[in-house]
Amino acid sequence: MSTAKLELQNVSKAFDDKQVLRDVDLAVDHHEVVCLIGSSGSGKSTMLKCINLLVPIDSGAILLDGADIAAPGVNANQVREEMGIVFQAFNLFPHMTVLDNITLSPRKVHGVKRRVAEETARELLAGFGLSDKVDEYPDRLSGGEQQRVAVIRALATEPDLMLFDEVTSALDPELVAEVLNVIRALKDDGMTMVIATHEMGFARDVADQVCFLDEGRILEHGPPGQIFSSPSEARTQQFLQRIIDAGRL
């Protein structure tokens, strides 16, 4: 039996009195791309933060390569080294150049020599067409460039699981594609990814599996063809209808 790359079992989370995740079960296979969709407040961000151990869960288990990373006594920093996460905004450290942003973790966490870390960073930047931004500060980059650098920074520690939390929703429309293309390239490289997104066209295009979250529950999941064309739940249909009405699908 092959274990999934990532598996959530009965994960629940409440903030104060508010139940944000309810018995979430999810299995992500190696090299699989899972998109999380659902209305605002349905718990997508919280789920990603729980996977990254940035938010502690109340009950359930999170298995990474078969080992429960939510169990007490697990070294969260070690777990985080194996995955990368990119948020909607404010990812980059404004007081550091692009190069320093990218090399901070390799150098301070992984003990890589500065010269080596910088070489790797430059190669990554070149690979994503950002060579000329090496020494810029984040506020001199466009929003799309900032997000691409944030992705590169997360990749610099060579994670094999990437989490994306609406990385394009703070961007001007014309900048969205350049960031999504980076994610597509990662998929082609076989990266395992969990992506919370409002970009339905992108989800349909890139996902192997789409999960519809509703009030902290995974109400429905399956291949994009099935979820987008013939959703079985009324709530999913309503959600998609609203998206279609808004002209976003």
Binding site: K49, N52, L54, A76, N77, Q78, R80, E81, G84, I85, F87, A89, F90, N91, L92, F93, P94, H95, L104, S105, K108, V109, H110, D139, A150, R153, A154, T157
Partner: protein, 290 residues
Amino acid sequence: MEEQTPIEEVGGGPSLFGPPRAPRRREEGARAALIAFASSVLFIVVALWAILSSDAWPAVQRQFFNWSNFVEVFPDVLSGFWLDIRMFVVAEIIILILSLVIAMIRSLRGPAFFPLRALAVIFIDLIRGIPVILLILLLGFGIPALQLPGVPTGALFWGLTALIISYSAYTAEVYRAGIESVHESQRMSARSLGLTQGQALWHVIVPQAIRNVIPALLNGLVSLQKDVALVLVLGIREAVREADIYAAKTFNYTGYIAAALLFLLISVPVARFADWYTNRDRRRKQSVST
């Protein structure tokens, strides 16, 4: 961003009742400067005349502004002031470091750090609740009186320690405000990259926090520069104490004026610099956000 009137335009001319002003022309700016200068000179002349011609002035001059007394007392006051400056520099350096450590401890999260956090909070609350002068008396007279073996007994040492402790509590709160002003995503991003809490604070949060609170730190600096004189209650012969001794001997207060002038010599430029820096900082932030 809300609309704000740039500071420079406020003094430029009346716009309260007229239609919106056209962009200010050069002659207009020159005229405004001339008016400001002329009215300042006029004000100073009138004020000086009022003071100098008053009946009390001869007595005031004799007691406070007496040149021969000034010449007599100045060397002692100056050497006392040199001690003030050295105390200030030593204390400020230690305060800036110590308070940052306290603020960082206070910002640690998670139940494991509760005892440390609690200690920091108790320290800050206790110290901030005690007048500086009381702390100076308490440590400066109290601890040497205990005659504990191996513990320094110098008044200077304990006076400075009291100042450092007191100011560190205040400054720690300044730093903490700065730390809290940094967006939560920054902490999350840093942690997600595998940095420990300490690393995240040190490499990511604190550099941004310090930049945000430099104006407040400068204000604290101005205030400490004056408050070092408080150690005079322990008999330490700094500038004010020297002036005090002279006044007790001669019943002439020119020494106080001499000390005041020396303090002003340092604190006015620093205050101007703090203002200039704060304004520049604000303007830069505005230009970034628009």
